[in-house]
Symmetry: C2
Subunit: 236 residues, 2 copies
């Protein structure tokens, strides 16, 4: 089996910095974690917040701290740093090779989609964004890593896409249609979902949008770990 993870990420229209921050880190006991935070508002201020949250989480995960504890720590840290005045959403998706499970930690009202075999599930937990009070708890879900598992996580730029024109995006239906179609790669799913959202916003995203898709696929070929990153830069 191999785990494939894809990320697609675009800034709010005419804003040079994304308020969403995403990092992928190795777990000290095997596997990796994807950490995604969306800072309140957009631009430079939001970037500072989401960066602060993601850095805290990845440094704790790197020390072997459990995901839930890392999310609580990030919340208390943000609360202390910003006197409870600023919030951020946080998602941690961990491939834990020690337990052979996927651990999904949410402090984000946007749902997480989980598709197994032909069944699609929507983790629509009651979780709160972090940073605004003490004792904020993440919602945590642990599922076995099994072939065909697909997980889709996104920031609220997807949820709010099309609001300006009274439309909205049914993420479940889009992902379901993609999965029925063929055997799409995670990048195809992430790109399609992002493109849908941007289309609803008439080509001018009204918020930063990030989409993360993880799939457990049959092993194709060798035992090489691979990573690719594409970073568009303005003409210089």
């Amino acid at each position: 089996m191999e785990i494939q993870i894809a990320v697609a990420k675009i800034n709010k229209y005419a804003v040079s910095e994304s308020g969403d921050t995403l990092e992928v880190v190795e777990r000290p006991n095997g596997g990796l974690s994807v950490v995604l935070a969306d800072g309140q508002t957009s631009g430079r201020g939001a970037k500072v917040i989401s960066t602060l949250v993601v850095r805290k989480v990845i440094s704790l995960l790197a020390e072997g701290v459990r995901d839930g504890a890392a999310a609580r720590a990030a919340s208390d840290y943000l609360f202390t740093e910003r006197s409870g005045k600023v919030s951020a959403t946080l998602n941690i998706i961990s491939v834990d090779l020690q337990t052979s499970t996927l651990v999904i930690t949410q402090n984000n009202p946007s749902p997480v989609l989980i598709a197994r075999e032909a069944k699609m599930e929507c983790l629509n937990s009651e979780s709160q964004p972090i940073g605004t009070s003490r004792n904020i708890r993440p919602s945590i879900c642990e599922i076995p890593l099994e072939m065909g598992l697909t997980v889709v996580v996104y920031t609220d730029g997807v949820t709010h896409a099309g609001e300006r024109s009274g439309k909205s995006l049914d993420v479940c239906t889009v992902v379901d249609a993609l999965l029925e179609d063929a055997n799409p790669s995670p990048q195809e799913i992430a790109d399609a979902l992002l493109a849908h959202a941007v289309r609803l916003d008439e080509g001018r995203p009204s918020d930063d949008i990030s989409v993360v898709v993880l799939r457990a696929m049959p092993m194709t070929g060798d035992a090489v770990r691979r990573m690719t990153v594409r970073l568009p830069v303005s003409p210089i």
Copy 2:
């Protein structure tokens, strides 16, 4: 213009953990850094060392510390932690969007290849691995980010490939041939180089091998940032 980065990484034959650690992080002032460390020996012990080094470097870079200072700090830290008894090689490749340059920081006797237009250069600096004494300096090279720039960085698993059978890999020639051929993606270059090394080791890599390739390519399509990760896992 867009920057594409690709990584290919394989473990030493019959060893479950790689002594090479690689992380990609966002830079606080724009751009990103790839940090690659190779811990002395292989397996669990080497992994602990390379992780310790990479963590130190990425946490400093995240705070805005310059690459050279981060490398020196990591060296002193490793020296102090392990009483100078353990060494590691370190490479930092940074896309700095503030200065529109690529900054290559080396504490690694393995050369770094830089191809611009039709010219191939081999950065064969006198840099020492970190951790074995005080005052170890990195060698630093800063070059403008320009179209067609290709940079190839690797750990000594590539340099030593084939030694068991008296063969060796001329990385320059391999990369040159690939670049002349067509317009290969960074992943194609990384995969080809890794495959060459594994072939010289008769399918059983005698050390952990990591290859990082960065290219500045013409912008293809949208302004979406993308990342994909492939993680092979043993059958569970």
